[in-house]
């Protein structure tokens, strides 16, 4: 049984003086929907480009399916990297036929994937006549062409309408259910949270956290607080032990709790220090908050 579909070791790449990726170690388990999260310019696309053979790493290594990288492996990887790349003067069908020859898949797949992305009716139209969203759909069709074991998607919902976004997410979930591994780069947290089983958070080319979505969300609960005297509240909370993290968000103070939060204990603790709360809310933490916390720390 194959443990990791993909493993990178100390992967690094610079563009001149800009260090786009710094010593990245990733492990993508078989069957995972693995999200790579990071703000703009954090090196997500650069990382995926190295994994797909179009950029040469400055140092470090990676392996697909437990083997050193080689071009033939990529026939079994479906990928959509940044913008769709096709011959503008060729029809959708002809473009996919070329991809099919490269990937050595059955020509009958062309109609199947066109149907899957809802482009079958426009199969004979030239690529250049497509709208942004249609181009993106064609790129997704191309990624699905060889019925790949692994899908690599770099911001796959870019340029899609809400309907398209929902469809692509549903497609990702369906594909994942068939036991495929998916590597998804995004800065849309909602997207990652909805579909991913694992995440890696990177910032400025550096890995900040990696693990299952459960692990990343292990500080699961948050408490929002508000009082008339915010400075006093902040001072009082700095010594409050059950809180792992304290952040100021707008006119609220948000605590990340280490264990199960006890609202009444917290309220009593503050009341004992002469503080009366005007707002107290306990809720489960979302990926967005974890992400902001992780990237703010670095």
């Amino acid at each position: 049984m194959l443990e990791n579909v993909l493993k990178t070791q100390a992967l690094a790449k610079s563009y001149g003086r800009i260090k786009a990726v710094k010593s990245l170690d990733l492990e993508v388990p078989d069957g995972a929907v693995f999200g790579i999260l990071g703000p703009n310019g954090s090196g997500k696309s650069t990382t995926l480009s190295m994994l797909l053979g179009i950029l040469t790493p400055d140092s470090g290594s990676f392996s697909w399916f437990g083997q050193a990288p080689e071009p033939a492996q990529r026939k079994r990887i479906g990928a959509l990297l940044e913008q769709p790349n096709f011959y503008p003067y060729l029809s959708a069908r002809k473009n996919l036929e070329i991809a099919c020859l490269i990937k050595e898949c059955s020509p009958t797949r062309v109609d199947i994937v066109l149907e899957q992305v809802g482009l079958l009716a426009r199969a004979e139209s030239a690529f250049k006549t497509f709208s942004t969203g249609m181009k993106q759909r064609l790129a997704i069709a191309s990624a699905l062409l060889a019925d790949p074991k692994v899908l690599v998607l770099d911001e796959p919902t870019n340029g899609l309408d809400p309907q398209g976004i929902a469809e692509v997410r549903e497609l990702i979930i369906q594909i994942a259910k068939r036991g495929k591994t998916i590597l998804l780069a995004s800065h849309i947290l909602d997207e990652v949270e909805k579909v991913c089983t694992h995440v890696a958070v990177i910032k400025q080319g550096q890995l900040l956290a990696q693990g299952s979505v459960m692990e990343i969300l292990r500080n699961q609960h948050q408490v929002e607080l508000k009082a008339d005297d915010m400075e006093a509240l902040e001072r009082a909370l700095s010594a409050y032990e059950p809180a792992a993290e304290r952040r100021r968000v707008g006119n609220l103070i948000v605590l990340s709790m280490t264990g199960e939060p006890d609202g009444s204990a917290l309220n009593r603790y503050l009341y004992d220090q002469g503080l009366v709360l005007s707002h107290l809310r306990v809720h489960k933490k979302r990926l967005e908050e974890s992400f902001l916390e992780i990237t703010a720390k670095a």
Partner: protein
């Protein structure tokens, strides 16, 4: 190999610019031996389009048409960069070597097909132009037939190299024209001035080599004895030295292209 060739053919066959350019080229290429015989630029011009000199004349005339092939190769090469399709091919599973091999195969097949066309069409034109139905000496100067293949592959290799180097269609075509007309000529002049053996070096510059027909055209047009005896004045082929140099530049241009594509971030 057939797969790479099919990929290349699928890309260019529906491409309008390719169809127009190759169509124009083919029409001129086929008309060439019939039309040029009507241009009496030499006293003894009829001889040029009779057997066996026709192989030289066809070769020589076709050299001018190769400009269209250069534009075609530059365009389809730079398109791979502007459409980012070289990049997509690698993502899809081709190796970087495959990118070069595909284009190399396409050019070799194109040159081979054109060579066969040259043989068939040249033979028909030679028969029509012959005084008497004696074709025994028809193939004496047939050495220009493989010579045409070497010329065609050479000019396409040069164009492929420029396409990879500049990656932008306009820029690469400009570079091609600039190199063919002023740059190489200036280099030749400079080299002739600098080195004692300047002629030796300047005759080895790429366009001079690829366009060499092994005949001193200036001499041919000005020397009366040459004109009267074209058959003897014109050799039977490009000769070993020029053939090897044509192959040499082809290897250099493909080698450099291969090196660029290997090293580059696509």
């Amino acid at each position: 190999m057939m797969r790479l060739l099919r990929i290349e053919w699928n890309k260019i066959q529906p491409y309008r610019a390719f169809r127009i350019l190759i169509g124009l080229y083919l029409v001129s290429f086929i008309a060439l031996p019939y039309s040029m015989e009507r241009i009496p630029f030499l006293q003894n011009w009829q001889q040029l389009f009779e057997f066996p000199t026709i192989w030289f004349s066809y070769y020589f005339g076709a050299e001018f048409l190769s400009f269209a092939l250069a534009i075609i190769v530059i365009t389809i090469t730079t398109n791979e960069y502007s459409n980012r399709t070289f990049r997509q091919h690698v993502i899809d599973g081709l190796s970087r070597n495959d990118l070069v091999t595909g284009k190399l195969l396409l050019m070799a097949v194109l040159a081979a097909v054109l060579m066969i066309l040259l043989v068939v069409n040249g033979y028909i034109a030679g028969m029509l132009n012959a005084f008497e139905a004696d074709y025994s000496g028809a193939w004496i100067k047939a050495g220009y037939i493989p010579g045409f293949f070497l010329h065609t592959v050479g000019i396409m290799a040069f164009s492929f190299f420029l396409g990879n180097l500049f990656r932008r269609t306009g820029l690469a075509i400009f570079a091609f024209i600039a190199w063919v007309f002023p740059v190489e000529l200036i280099l030749r002049g400079l080299l002739a001035g600098v080195a004692k053996d300047g002629g030796m070096i300047s005759d080895r510059l790429p366009v001079a080599v690829i366009y060499s027909s092994n005949v001193d055209m200036g001499e041919m047009f000005s020397n009366p004895t040459a004109i009267l005896n074209l058959n003897e004045f014109i050799p039977g082929s490009l000769g070993l030295e020029n053939s090897l140099m044509k192959i040499g530049w082809t290897v250099v241009f493909f080698g450099l292209s291969w090196w660029m594509i290997r090293r580059r971030d696509l």
